[in-house]
């Protein structure tokens, strides 16, 4: 049975939603959960019938969102540091953390190390599209990239889509400002030529292709990835705010909104990142799932399942094999 180190303290809302997520996951599928945090606070949250699946690792510091990722290595008493160490010392096979993503990323890279031939790890995230999901990477770890980095992100993303998302021939594309090969900035034009070596490369794609289900894996630098995530979150939020404000001023619209509520709920569920769990860090020796700081129990439950699938699929071996081909 897989052991998963859970950073129980790192999220924006403290230990409660994290532990609830662990309990929800355990109610569906057994695994060993190593809860990293203040044991005394955590113990009372665990129901009796699940105690057999739980271990505790004491950590009484939290790496806060305001700190600089570069300081993570010095903060050896934090829950995220200790969670990563459990993987390093082979006491756990995976980490799930809703803490400081830069800290998770940098600790994983420095303490666990990179996979063979990987220049830089990347954070990959699932974006909902009109049919299913699109894997977007990198979304934050690497703000300045070289074409070799983007090429490797493509290879790693393709393996993840194949092995975990179970898409037999994932369509891999490069984010650019136009579909034509000649479109792009210097970085993407150079990357485009490298990516031609990848059999499933379908060429450049534009921002809109994330959502129209034309692409399975979309590659970009971490700066662009972050801009996309946050802009899209912003648009969706603004649309619902504008609509809500309008409905309030109009009786018939208000009635209509009540009748449409089930449709709105299903839409919300479909486009809600909490449904998709966390973002796997690809390219490090181990499995690190980075969850949103604002994760609720459902997001944590889904991140735990992601960690389980990641391990079952033997992704890291597959990534090393794939990179060795080039």
């Amino acid at each position: 049975m897989i052991s998963i180190a859970i950073d129980a303290m790192g999220g924006d809302f403290g230990e409660k939603p994290i532990i609830e997520g662990v309990i929800e996951a355990l109610n569906v599928k057994p695994f060993n959960a190593i809860l990293v945090g203040e044991t005394e606070k955590l113990k009372p949250l665990i129901p009796k019938h699940l105690e057999q699946y739980i271990q505790y690792e004491e950590a009484n510091e939290v790496f806060s969102m305001e700190e600089n990722a570069t300081d993570a290595l010095k903060r050896k008493e934090t829950s995220i540091y200790k969670a990563i160490e459990l993987v390093k010392n082979l006491k756990a096979s995976a980490v799930v953390s809703a803490g400081h993503s830069g800290a998770s990323m940098s600790l994983a890279t420095l303490r666990l190390g990179r996979l063979q031939n990987v220049l830089r790890p990347a954070i990959a995230t699932l974006m909902p599209n009109i049919e299913s999901t699109t894997l977007l990477l990198d979304v934050g770890a690497n703000t300045d990239c070289k074409s070799e980095n983007l090429f490797q992100f493509a290879v790693m993303g393709e393996v993840y889509a194949r092995e975990v998302m179970q898409i037999s021939k994932p369509r891999v594309a490069l984010l650019s400002n136009g579909e034509e090969e000649c479109k792009g900035n210097e970085l993407t034009k150079e990357t485009h030529q490298l990516m031609k070596k990848i059999p499933n490369f379908i060429g450049n794609a534009e921002g809109r292709d994330i959502f129209n289900a034309n692409v399975d894996v979309l590659v970009c630098d971490g700066f662009s990835g972050n801009v996309i995530l946050k802009s899209c979150e912003g648009v969706a939020g603004a649309i619902f705010r504008i609509l809500k404000a309008d409905i309030k001023q109009n009786f018939l619209s208000k009635l209509g909104a009540v009748l449409m509520k089930p449709s709105f709920m299903r839409l919300k569920k479909k486009i809600d990142w909490q449904e998709y769990g966390g973002a796997p860090l690809l390219g490090v020796k181990g499995c690190v799932i980075i969850s949103h700081g604002k994760s609720d129990s459902r997001a944590i439950k889904n991140a735990i399942f992601q960690a389980i699938h990641f391990n079952e699929a033997n992704i890291n071996e597959a990534i090393e094999n794939e990179l060795a081909k080039f």
Copy 2:
């Protein structure tokens, strides 16, 4: 009375929506329209009572969307080339074109020339936010930028927001992957330091800030700007597609949607780029408004009003004066 050269042939849907837009604008406000295109096709579209406001400039070629912007200079018989020449020869004060934006941009830069001290012109676009609009620039002209370019985009955008959008102290921000000064890629970190010289600079902003009305002018390189535009278009489109498909399968939702129709229509109008006209090209000697290829008559009408405001506000002089301060 201002003379505006209208590229009557460049849009995706031919001359009809363009001429309709001209007529709609003339019905609101008089101006001299110089219609650049196949005169024979255009003449029958003009109603008698408006003939006094119309002149014709024969151009029987169109620069197509598939062509490379770098060829625009050689194609001297195209409607966009001739429209730009009218401004160069002082026969018109502005150009409105729904044609190839790269061609408009490159012809304007090469034939009209750049304003004093401007290194590179930028395309600025209005994005709807929950309260009003945010000016985003650059959105496509400059895929690789230096910090000096972004700095100048900020200065030009600030002037535009002040003089045309009539915001007395526009909040100017730099797009980055985090609000903190230390966040960003190499380009934005360097730019941040330069932008401190701008009195209304409020720091870094994230993708979501375009929509929450925290920022009036948001500066980015043209690659990021294009990615934002297209991603946001993609999200909005996907949300409505998912909702529509769901409503179809549910009688009460369908009824609710009928009742909510006025609210949806108002939302659509609010987030519809056609309402905002075109995107002004900032930094060239003249006024060039670049409209979406798929512009309907309403978008053209609004682009014409933008050209009129642009000229009335004496933007170009203001930009030169502002840049001279640094």
